[in-house]
């Protein structure tokens, strides 16, 4: 019964929005998996409140999930959406601004009753479903609550439980609209509710109900087809940043033969790395949920001393607490990987929102002259690469390494043509071995790295500590010139790392142009899309994305000279730009967004256009 006409689209953005309890994150994730398996390229953006479950029906309680999928290369979750699912007034109110003119709204009309209007602070006489304010959109009004209750009337479940299945109806409907199979979601439901067959059945029933609703009713006069994207050949999966980061660490552990020890304390949005790694005990991964962040990082340092690769994960406030210990690790010259999944600051700030405002903290947040390498991941899948790199640098150079990610890529998803284990490079580690000579714990190799001598090795007994050490012997030294020498040596050790990282490349655009836009971290997708568009318009613009923030790649200074203007886009009030201005005395311009939200492509395009004049 194919009543609806079929249209082919290049890409679509859907935003699911509802109450925290409405299961929008799950709906989004399920649709994401289906789109990924279908072969679309995609990017997602979950956007949820800081409360576990803020009061139902209120603006504070709205939880959103946006997916952008298409048959072309997708770099961002989309500035605006084509379809908005709104489970209640609050969800509509909070998200309508993002909907394209002419876009489709699927609303649960039950969520627009007097109570919901009141909770969302909408006067009774301004019900958006009735006051004409949605005239510029295509509104599909469904009483999803009612349908759900009817469908499950004789399931024997209570109303509260029944209502919780509403999202499955929505999912089914959207599957139908975009011509997707519901099979994988059925599999998922069956496995999720393995021990609650009644609930599994109810969910499946509604999923099908939603699908059939689309097919049967004439609510929708069109059905859409978004063809698979043309992507490089290979095997793909869908991946989120925190997952990728955890895999990257495990991969590096396998490739270096160093067991992982994670010392950490839960904090949003970093906790998922702990959750992931705690599952991989059969890789020899030890996870230690410590009493606080300080204990987390210190335990990691203890483990590194013992020959593991010590890792610690956190977000801004937790990272602040770790700084004293990171200073210790710097002087001990032990490997340590510090993952900061940044969120909105300062202080507790906006815990569930994204930001890039901890770069300066990573670079300078310790007492004394205490330089450490800092690297940053650009996309969800890039978290894998950079986590691998962080371990490699830390272990081969005997140094603590900061890996910066943020809430946006940590929770965002994209298709990933993942590598094979055999194609990943080995990370060669040589533990110190006893020799005839007296062991010198602060002797150095050509990388200026010192030997890693692990307890249990006969003959290499030695003591290390946080007081200034004598060059070579590692004994305590209060000598004035030794101190200056060691401070400079630790700096040189970081600087020399520039020999062991890739040169900076231009990601997009010409080697010489009018404007160079520089980004780092999660702004990659938005900048890429914006620059792509401008290049198509024939604009003289280029994009460089810095993954290695300290030391900077050796050629950056040279590269900057090839552009008349330099724009530095950051989700903070201007941090990388300070470094570039200081280092290269270049009059770079800042594009800054500090809204807990990623850049839109438009914002970047507009700024670039303004500069291009």
């Amino acid at each position: 019964m194919e009543t609806a006409e079929e249209q082919i689209l290049e890409s679509v953005v859907i935003r699911f929005a509802g109450d925290s309890g409405d299961g929008m994150q799950l709906t989004g994730t399920q649709f994401t998996n289906a789109a990924a398996l279908y072969g679309n390229d995609l990017a997602t953006f979950p956007d949820f409140p800081a409360e576990i479950r803020a009061p139902q029906g209120t603006l504070a309680g709205v939880s959103g999930y946006q997916i952008h999928f298409g048959s072309k290369k997708i770099n961002t979750p989309g500035d605006t959406c084509d379809v908005l699912v709104a489970m209640n007034v609050a969800a509509l109110k909070a998200n309508i601004g993002q909907l394209k003119i002419g876009g489709t709204i699927i609303v649960n009309s039950d969520g627009f009753d007097s109570k919901n209007l009141r909770l969302a602070n909408v006067p009774e006489d301004q019900n958006p479903l009735e006051n004409g304010s949605l005239d510029k959109y295509e509104v599909k009004k469904l009483d999803i609550t009612k349908i759900t209750r009817l469908a499950l009337a004789d399931s024997g479940m209570g109303t509260k439980e029944i209502d919780r299945s509403k999202n499955m109806f929505v999912l089914g409907l959207i599957y139908w609209m975009y011509n997707r199979s519901i099979d994988k979601s059925i599999e998922f439901i069956n496995s999720k509710f393995k021990n609650k067959p009644q609930i599994a059945e109810a969910n499946i029933k509604l999923l099908k109900a939603g699908y059939h609703y689309g097919e049967t009713t004439e609510t929708f006069n069109a059905r859409y087809e978004v063809k698979p994207a043309e992507m490089a050949p290979g095997v793909y999966r869908s991946i989120m940043g925190n997952e990728a980061l955890a895999y990257g660490l495990v991969a590096a552990s396998v490739k270096s033969k160093l067991p992982i020890f994670l010392g950490t304390y839960p904090i949003t949005p970093a906790s998922d790395i702990l959750h992931e790694l705690s599952k991989y005990k059969n890789f020899g991964v030890r996870t230690f949920q410590a009493e606080d962040e300080i204990a987390g990082v210190c335990a990691a340092i203890g483990a590194s001393y013992g020959g593991s690769i010590g890792i610690t994960t956190s977000s801004g406030p937790g990272i602040a607490l770790k700084m004293e210990a990171i200073g210790l690790a710097t002087v001990l010259e032990l490997p340590l990987v510090i993952c900061n999944i940044q969120r909105g600051g300062p202080s507790t700030g906006l815990p569930t929102k994204t930001e890039q405002s901890d770069l300066m903290q990573a670079l300078y947040g310790r007492n004394g002259e205490c330089p450490v390498p800092v690297i940053a991941a650009a996309t969800p899948s890039d978290c894998f690469n950079m986590a691998f790199e962080a371990v490699r640098i830390a272990a081969q150079h005997m140094i603590p390494v900061f890996l910066l990610s943020d809430g946006y890529i940590a929770n965002g998803a994209e298709p990933w043509c993942f590598p094979q284990s055999k194609d990943l490079p080995e990370i060669k580690i040589d533990f110190a071995k006893p020799t005839e000579e007296k062991f010198m714990p602060y002797a150095r190799d050509e990388k200026l790295s010192r030997p890693w001598a692990v307890p249990g090795t006969p003959g290499l007994e030695h003591r290390i500590g946080g007081l200034e050490k004598q060059h070579i012997t590692g004994n305590i030294s209060y000598d004035a010139h030794n101190h200056e020498f060691m401070v400079k040596l630790r700096q040189e050790k970081v600087d020399k790392l520039a020999d062991d990282i890739p040169l900076q490349t231009i990601d997009n655009g010409a080697e010489k142009a009018d404007v160079l836009i520089i980004g780092w971290g999660s702004t990659y997708g938005a900048i890429k899309t914006a620059v792509n568009a401008l290049l198509l318009d024939g604009k003289s613009v280029a994009h460089a994305h810095i993954r290695y923030l300290n030391p900077l790649p050796k050629n950056i200074g040279e590269l900057l000279k090839n552009y008349n203007k330099v724009l530095v886009a950051e989700m903070n009030n201007g941090q990388l730009i300070k470094i570039l201005r200081d280092r290269f005395l270049v009059d770079a311009i800042g594009l800054n967004k500090i809204q807990g939200q990623p850049f839109t492509t438009e914002e970047i395009k507009n700024k670039l256009s303004e500069i291009l004049g």
Binding site: N33, P233, G307, L332, G456, R463
Partner: protein, 345 residues
Amino acid sequence: MTTLIDQTAPKLTPKDFVSDQDVRWCPGCGDYSILKQVQTVLPDLGRPKEEFVFVSGIGCSSRFPYYMDTYGMHSIHGRAAAIATGLKSSRPELSVWMISGDGDSLSIGGNHFIHLLRRNLDINVLLFNNQIYGLTKGQYSPTSEKGKVTKSTPMGSIDHPFNPIALSMGADATFVARTMDRDPKHIQQMIRRGYEHTGTSLIEIYQNCNVFNDGAFEVFTEKTSKKNETLFIENGQPLIFGDNSDKGIILDGFKPKVVDLTQGYSASDCWVHDEQDQVKANILARFFDNPSIEGHLPRPFGVFYAIERPTYNDLLNQQIAYAIEKNGEGNLDKLIAGKETWTIN
């Protein structure tokens, strides 16, 4: 440098544990004796010296690792427990020792300290209690007595001090003992007991800081008063003390009382120490009066409490072993691929 893997290697001596660094404590400091006793006991434990690791925080006492020719780390203030936890969890076969002061472990490091005790990692904790901050030149510490006049408390301290033994009991420690710098044999005995205990062994050591808090423990260490002011407790033995072992402790309901063994009471009336009795250990922990108070109880030395409980390091490593047994060693390709993949040709 001799390699000690060889089981037939010559037996170690205390000298083997002396590092090449000059000991830099003040002359007369109680730390010297403790160092010496540790260096005396270690060779007897039958372990190659490369298996010993000493982790300390910051403080005079925390300089200890530098003087031991073993592996060691002088870390940051208060964090030795956390560092030792990471080391022991990942390298359970090592013999891990933690050296700390009353400031280091009960002030800034208090949280790691109580968490270490509850988790019960198999670590030997030597808590050098001198009731003062030595390294920073004499401020009061969380174990200083109320009213103490120090650089930071010109009118006397107003903090009620911690009772480290009671605090450790409250944190569910599995091994709790007390000893003193001036009793070499007893320190050695306690160190041995602590080493033999599987789990965290907390050994509080009264240590004289002759520069900033001289004589803090004089009544317990001086010949003239020691016998009447201290109570050496031993498992299965009655609680007897005094110049001629002429005093005993009995329990009057729950109230401990000193009785005169020359006047109607005999050893068999006395409370017999049971290291596994938590209630009684708690009562003993509260033998904590100021010795200048009339009718005060003697201060106990020895093992207050010792029970077995699985260690965090064992449990963690058992989970690792079980996971490998159950799921096989991790396959990286499988992990990365996850549950669902698709192929583009």
